[in-house]
């Protein structure tokens, strides 16, 4: 792509100012809404609440203080942020593995049946709706009635089988997992689509040859197809890690971060708009981007390598 872009036909040369006329609207908007706020957030993360002095100004002698990095002390060591980190880690481990494995399974299975496109559309559908809509759908699945009747599907099933109903969203040991299930339900379609496209690109001759040589389907999948799509799997995994780190809406709608389900992005929102602690919120945002950047760089490199190879 880079090589081709060099060859703008010389006949199409234009006045000096013309390109800028085409570029300026976009550049101005991006500078205002991405570059400036990005840098400003970084600056604010070292300032106190209300931006009237440095973050360390409010420190009290004798108590732990990181000076100008005081907001980062909160963002990195406060108990509620520790919970958030722990939960984000849980989210990454369970949701990324869940979406990628299920996506791979469905992509591989759908490839063999005649109803491939409707099946894929069904799995994909949740991605078109909002996290808020999904939150309502699943809050209803998890609904917990304290009395005789259970109108939530899961508790209805449990009581029909003779079990005790469970309050899925407030029980600290299971509620984060219950939220992650919602995430998996939403994002498996994304992984499936990209992985299915990769599977379709595996040359059929190789697969046929392996089958002729007596390989069974299992061996064909793991021995022939998996190595071919491994780069795509890597991209999907990193993309999902980035998405999961930024997860906000599901938690906000379903539990509000209560009952020990806090995540980083929700905490940032609460610090900013409920507690009005700008400096802390900015520090959390910086921590968030610091965690995301490595995955993002890896992804863009991979993507460009793929583009170049195409």
């Amino acid at each position: 792509m880079a090589a081709q872009a060099e060859q703008v036909p010389s006949i199409m040369k234009q006045g000096r100012a013309t390109p800028w006329a085409y570029l300026l609207p976009a550049l101005i908007v991006m500078a205002t809404f991405i570059v400036y706020p990005g840098l400003n957030t970084f600056y604010l993360s070292f300032r106190n609440t209300g931006n009237t002095g440095w973050a360390g100004d409010n420190c009290i002698a004798g108590e732990p203080c990181w000076g100008a990095f005081e907001n980062y002390r909160y963002a990195l060591t406060s108990p509620v942020m520790q919970t958030a980190f722990g939960n984000n880690l849980k989210w990454i481990l369970l949701m990324v593995s869940g979406t990628v494995l299920l996506g791979l399974l469905i992509a591989a299975l759908a490839d063999r049946v005649r109803y491939e496109s409707p099946a894929k559309a069904i799995i994909f559908l949740p991605l078109a709706i909002s996290f808020v809509g999904a939150g309502v759908i699943w809050k209803f699945v998890y609904a917990f009635g304290s009395g005789q009747v259970q109108i939530g599907l899961l508790n209805g099933l449990l009581t029909a089988l003779g079990g005790q109903p469970v309050s899925w969203l407030t029980e600290p040991r299971i509620n984060t997992v219950a939220l992650i299930v919602v995430g998996v339900w939403m994002w498996t379609g994304f992984c499936m689509t990209i992985l299915a496209a990769a599977l379709k690109n595996v040359p059929t001759e190789i697969i046929e040859a392996a089958r002729v040589d007596g390989a069974n389907e299992w061996q064909v999948f793991w021995g022939i197809m998996m190595p071919q799509i491994l780069p795509t799997v890597a991209v999907v995994v990193t993309t999902m890690v980035i998405n999961v780190l930024k997860i906000f809406d599901i938690v906000y709608v379903m539990t509000g971060g209560n009952y020990g389900t806090e995540v980083i992005a929700n905490r940032m929102y609460i610090e900013m708009y409920t507690s009005f602690k700008t400096g802390r919120a900015a520090a959390i945002a910086v921590v968030l981007i610091a965690v995301i950047i490595p995955a993002m760089i890896y992804n863009i490199r991979r993507f460009r390598a793929q583009e170049a190879a195409r």
Binding site: R16, T18, Y22, F33, G38, F124, A128, A285, F303
Partner: protein
């Protein structure tokens, strides 16, 4: 069927079972939402949605205790017609019903040898009687929840009933004006459109101009600037919210549509330019050369050539941007809030304030999902293409 075909069919069976099972699992939660949104609110609170097609509450108890003498429709004994409202009215509650059943008729127990029902059974029978007598008659499925959600009705029955009785709350007019009720989904739907359409068109237009310059114009630092721009995709949304809302507070742009259009435009641009540049750059060079030889300016080439040819890319981009904005909660929460509530904001509010108003919540959620589902089903092809073209969006 030959043995070999049978063997192949059996071999494929596990695939079908797993795949269809997963699809069923995926659809089930949404099906529950859809069914619930069409059920009368009393039923929603009383029974699970999966019983929507089974006999109403109390039918089994009625069959057990009453049907033998009173008949399956309650009319067999003319003197004690169980569909008469005046009669049922006095046995509305379980304790009055139990008291009546414990009385003797002509010196013999009311129920003969059958033991008198306990209070749960009696309550179920009473509920069933109220239903067949018409005191609390209600259809199996209704559109009331949708009317209630659209108009922002928050009473104890439903919008139509309150309006008919003239007992509606003070902020309702009982005509088309209620669609503009700030608590309702009708108003929110309009607001979502007002946010999403300009926020989709603006970045595409800006991105098309910029992508054209990156593809077919000469200027110093072109490669470098494009790389920088791709890099901007890294910046997560959360990073930009705080300074912009402070800036907007100074400019008075918080809570305005203009403010949120600009924000979505700025944030959507890096990805949009990236996608459009890749598409425009892959168009055949001869096309632009010959247009230029024929005397076309860049302006003409852009409008007559580049834009029409990139229709597929614009479609993918447009769908993505539109759905992303339609489904967004965070940006709407921060920049619009309750000033101009959009669908996601309204539902988020209902979840916290209504708690168990499931009939309203499910209808509201489905109203917000309807448009994305239509867009997705109609334009699936472009959706998938866009997804494959740029899976690095930040």
């Amino acid at each position: 069927m030959s043995a070999q075909r049978l063997k192949r069919w059996l071999g494929g069976l596990p695939t079908h079972i797993v795949l269809i099972g997963l699809c069923g699992l995926w659809l089930l939660p949404t099906l529950g939402l859809l069914v619930t949104s069409f059920r009368p609110f009393q039923d929603v609170a009383e029974t699970g949605w999966w019983t929507a097609l089974s006999p109403p509450k109390g039918a089994a108890e009625y069959a057990e205790f009453c049907a033998a003498c009173h008949g399956s429709d309650g009319k067999k004994i003319a003197a004690a017609d169980l569909t008469r409202q005046e009669l049922v009215q006095s046995y509305r509650r379980s304790f009055t019903l139990i008291a009546a059943l414990e009385k003797e008729i002509n010196g013999r127990p009311h129920l003969g040898d059958t033991p008198v029902p306990d209070e749960f059974q009696a309550a179920a029978v009473a509920a069933y009687l109220r239903r067949i007598s018409g005191i609390e008659a209600r259809p199996r499925f209704t559109l009331d929840n949708y009317t209630d959600a659209m108009t922002g009705y928050r009473g104890t029955t439903n919008y139509a009933a309150d309006c008919a009785a003239g007992t509606q709350s003070l902020d309702l007019f009982c005509d088309w004006r209620d669609l503009g009720n700030p608590r309702g989904m009708g108003r929110a739907f309009l607001n979502s459109l007002l946010v999403a359409i300009p926020s989709t068109l603006l970045p595409i237009l800006f991105a098309a101009f910029a992508a054209y310059a990156f593809s077919w114009m000469h200027f110093p630092g072109r490669q470098f600037m494009f790389a920088l721009l791709v890099g901007l995709q890294i910046v997560p949304l959360q990073m930009t919210l705080i300074p912009i809302s402070r800036l907007y507070a100074q400019l008075g742009l918080n809570g305005t549509f203009f403010g949120i259009w600009l924000f979505h435009t700025g944030f959507g641009l890096p990805y949009a330019i990236f996608l459009m540049r890749n598409f425009l750059g892959s168009l055949p060079q001869e096309l632009f050369e010959s247009a230029y030889l024929d005397g076309a300016s860049h302006w003409t080439a852009f409008w007559r050539l580049a834009l029409p040819l990139s229709a597929p890319a614009i479609a993918s981009l447009g769908i993505f941007q539109f759905l992303w904005i339609w489904n967004d909660l965070l940006v709407a929460l921060v920049f619009l809030g309750g000033e101009h509530p959009v669908l996601t904001y309204q539902i988020g509010n209902m979840v916290t304030s209504l708690g168990s108003g499931w009939h309203l919540l499910t209808a509201a959620a489905f109203i917000s999902m309807a448009l994305p589902l239509i867009v997705f089903l109609a334009l699936q092809r472009y959706f998938v293409r866009g997804l494959l073209a740029g899976s690095v969006k930040g």
